[in-house]
Amino acid sequence: MQGETTILVATRKGAWIFRGDPAREHWRADGPHFLGHIIHHMVLDPRDGRTLLAAASTGHLGPTIFRSTDLGASWSEAARPPAFARADDGAGRAVGQVFWLTPAHANEPHAWYAGTSPQGLFRSDDDGDTWRPFSCINDDPDYRRWMGTVQDGTPDGPKLHSIIVDPRDPKHLYFAMSGGGVHESTDGGETFSPLLEGLDVVEGFVRSDPTFHDPHCVRMCPTNPDRLYQQNHCGIYRLDRPASRWQRIGRAMPAEVGDVGFPMVVHPRDADTAWVFPMDGRDVWPRTSPDGRPAVYATQDAGASWQRLDQGMPREQAWWTVKRQAMCADAHDPVGLYFGTTSGELWASVDEGAHWRCIARHLPEIYAVEAAHTAWVRRCRY
């Protein structure tokens, strides 16, 4: 595929759409969209190549979802954004932010899934206009205990993320919670069960309790849906189904770098190739590039070995943080890789990570970066 590439950048202060030429050499910034809104995730529907959803909130107004069918030229708001069921005693939970968006199976062309903070799972069957909660997760006593409260989650609230749909079976789903572990459904989301075997937890806590598991990002390989990769608070893992035991492939990372990070990116055609962006997980967890020397690490043998990829990046004094949704791959050959930093820089590689360059700087804190192929925008100028 050598069509145009579009990079959807969600930030703490709005969204930007970067449109690349066919060589991915020149990029044109379109934005800001929703200036001042916190955009947690912006995703183009690959099933129609037209529908774009953006998960938005502000520091004060409640969360919502904006929808576009012309790649951001115009937007409308969801009629009924994700919301928890109302509790009679008034003590029920309220969605603070929609954090993650995933288009459903190709055979369900109008369906989407959303993950929220506080942690909840939602589905839309009308292109994101109205949403319904999954009570089997959101109201289940075990899941409520496992997902904990704001006190148990990440500093800006626990997240339900990494919603994955098996391309072979629309009823086969995965999602992850930070914290609360990885979970699987084989019945379209009527029931879920934890998938935790082999995953480490912070020393002193109980592995068998989902409460103590903190998956940061889980990805399925497009050409081998039986293979999952995971970047976890406690290491990098691979799982080859039908096995249910995760293998800690991060042990092959250099000891001085470690295997802690947020994003996990998989190759669109080679299930043995994946990329991570390590961060410092020592003592107080700076969560910046180890020693101020940023790098992507790649494996081409399913995690048996890792190679450092930093050509073009600063050699020192670069204390970057890349969040779990802020790194992605396109579908070109060779694959293009993209990541955004919390310091507002957007970096790209058009040769699978061998060389990097900054394609935008001075953006707000970047939360999410998604690549989309949009042949229909050829009429656009660069």
Binding site: H60, L61, E77, A79, P81, A83, R86, G92, A94, V95
Partner: protein, 85 residues
Amino acid sequence: MQVLIPTPLQSYTGAAQVEAEGTTLDALLDDLDRRYPGMRFRLVDEQGRTRAHMRIFVNGKSVFDLTRVLEAHDEVAIVQALSGG
């Protein structure tokens, strides 16, 4: 009755002051949502609680109870306490 709208919600109303009806504050917010779809959820959550940093004043007094009865001559103001960076 006239309702004062803060700037973050004027993308819905297109005006700083709008007309709405309701015998309670809850009914008034429902009427605003009918006139300006989506607006209510941005300031009141799904449990019926006014969102943090959003305030509703009736005749100059802060009101959290959405069952508050309204009279035709009451003055309602929705206010956002901007903070943070």
